[in-house]
């Protein structure tokens, strides 16, 4: 052993300190954490407070949805689709019904189409309201915005319950229409809710949009470039916040969306603030669609009379149907071999695909910002893991 001079010893010691300061820290965010919207884990490598690597880990809520659907009848998968994105079960129902209708060539009566549009837009309202509420919760605004959002959401869920029998697990749409007709007074009640909703939006905007803390936390944070958004296959409000004009309601004009006059809000910067504002603006456009749909809804049958509920067997073939769910493009891919069960059943979940750019948005951000950026992706783990 050589003697180390006191000076050298000091240098060695400081080098070791420097090394431990440079050392990267592996931490696991989640899976059991309220900010992860369910059971989602982020394996984060931190340099100090900054994220240098982020690996999303999911599958904790895997329920084998696709495989189960291949062993039960077409109808029996309908209640399972409620449980994909359990915040918006009615849009899930619609996407699945739309695909089966495409596969079997079923026409939907006009009244059923209107009911579908009304319920889907109400779903969008309550989903966006609670997403913003959760986002504020993650920024540290504990309770207040979330509870205001939930108050409005509950009013809409009451409408869903009086129509479908269940607040969230609606199981409402059927191949060729809807299960039951609107109950007495439902349209009037909905008109009232739609007329009063802008008051909530105005209050919400006054409460949040110009708040300095919110601006500081959101502007320029988690920027998703237009190019990356397109390359990553991102859809929904996240894509539009990055400045891409792409809304399946306008592109595909599925159902009767070509009859309504509404605009697609587009963001500019693709940061957290744009993604927050786009949802507020989209709610206002949804209200426009709702007002028109409630005005134009016609009387008539709600089910295609030729379609059987039991023993439903579409001809052999395949179909991909997609809709603009509140979270993005929700698609179902079905292959039929002529038997009562689908041969292949595949879900294209917007939540999962929007998550793929999470690392790109979070690199260089702090842990606190990572949680906020993650919040604006707006995922539901039931849909990510299926």
């Amino acid at each position: 052993m050589e003697m180390i001079a006191p000076e050298d010893q000091r240098t060695a010691q400081s080098a070791a300190t420097a090394k431990s300061e440079d050392a990267l820290l592996d931490i696991s965010l989640g899976p059991h954490h309220p900010s992860t919207h369910g059971v989602f884990r982020m394996d984060v490598v931190l340099d100090g407070e900054r994220v240098v690597k982020l690996k999303p880990v999911f599958g904790y809520l895997h329920r084998n949805h696709e495989k189960i659907a291949e062993s039960v009848s077409y109808l029996a998968s309908m209640p399972y689709t409620d449980r994909l994105d359990y915040m918006c079960s009615l849009t899930n129902n619609w996407a699945y019904a739309l695909t089966v209708e495409k596969l079997a060539g079923i026409q939907v009566p006009e009244r059923a189409e209107y009911i579908r549009v009304i319920t889907a837009e109400l779903t969008r309202l309550q989903n966006h309201a609670s997403t913003i509420g959760f986002l504020m919760q993650e920024m540290g605004a504990s309770g207040t915005p979330l509870m205001y959002a939930f108050r409005e959401r509950e009013i809409i869920l009451d409408l869903f319950e009086s129509l479908t029998g269940s607040r969230m697990m609606s199981n409402y749409m059927r191949f060729g229409g809807c299960r039951v007709d609107l109950p007495y007074g439902w349209l009037k009640q909905t008109e009232k809710v739609v007329a009063e909703f802008p008051r909530f939006l105005d209050e919400f905007e006054r409460l949040l949009s110009s708040n300095e803390i919110l601006l500081a936390r959101t502007q320029g944070v988690g920027v998703l470039s237009k190019k990356l958004a397109i390359q990553g296959g991102i859809t929904g409000p996240m894509l539009r916040a990055s400045g891409v004009n792409y809304d399946i309601r306008k592109v595909d004009k599925y159902g009767i969306y070509d009859r309504f006059d509404f605009r697609v809000p587009i963001g500019e910067h693709g940061d957290v603030y744009d993604r927050f504002m786009i949802r507020l603006l989209e709610m206002r456009e949804s209200l426009k669609i709702l007002t028109q749909a409630l005005r134009d809804i016609t009387a008539g049958p709600i089910m295609d009379t030729k379609t059987k509920i039991r023993g439903f067997r579409p001809k052999a073939g395949e179909a991909y149907g997609r809709i603009e769910s509140p979270k993005g493009e929700l698609g179902f891919f079905l292959i039929s071999d002529g038997s009562p069960q689908p041969y292949r059943y595949r879900v294209r979940p917007p939540s999962l695909i929007n998550l793929t750019v999470l690392e790109d948005m979070c690199l260089g951000a702090s842990v606190a910002d990572t949680v906020v950026i993650f919040g604006t992706v707006d995922i539901v783990l039931g849909e990510v893991d299926r």
Binding site: V72, S73, L75, A76, S77, M78, P79, Y80, T144, Y148, R151, E154, I155, D158, E161, S162, L163, T164, G165, S166, M169, N171, R179, V180, P183, Y184, E196, E203, R206, L207, L208, S209, S210, N211, E212, I213, L214, L215, M303, T305, K308, I309, R310
Partner: protein
Amino acid sequence: MLGEGIAKGLVETARNFFGSYFTKDRLTTVQYPEERLPQFEAARNFPFLVYDGGDWQAGLRCVGCQICEKECPPKCIYIEKSKDKKPDAVGKLQFYPAVFNIDVSVCMSCQICVEVCPFEAIKMDTEFELSTDDRFGGLLWDKAQLAKSNEHYRKIHPTEAAEVDARLAEEKAKVDAKVKAAAENKTTPTSPGAVQPGSGASSTQ
């Protein structure tokens, strides 16, 4: 000015806080279980078996056809069909379910059994406080627990029950007319009890 946005937001919070003392739409919580909201007519939670008349064993509409068992997505229904037949509420000889069990812990309240039943025999109840301290026996309901009267059905779903009653009365009238005609002609030796199960049933659509 810095802080203006925050001040504006606080005004909104104050408006909601003080408003909750005056307007109902700003204060929406209910102190369950002391206070309860009325349930919607469409509300559904768990299936029950409908019976007509006073005796549940005699009046059970279910004929043990096992369609709901096959269609149930989570497969929570278990039925054993009877070997013998016995007269139902209308007087027709029918099979009946020797065993009819539903597992409360598996049922997901989807209502598909109600939709596929051709005999209007199974309907959704609105009862939701089903918790029990016995997780095995207490959560597996047999037909004695599942059977509920048609009056109960009329009480919880009045509109729907009125439709069902009208449809059943129509079918019964048809069957009666057929039986009468058969009795008058006396060409066939079949008794009124030998009407095939399901012959008077129509699709629920």
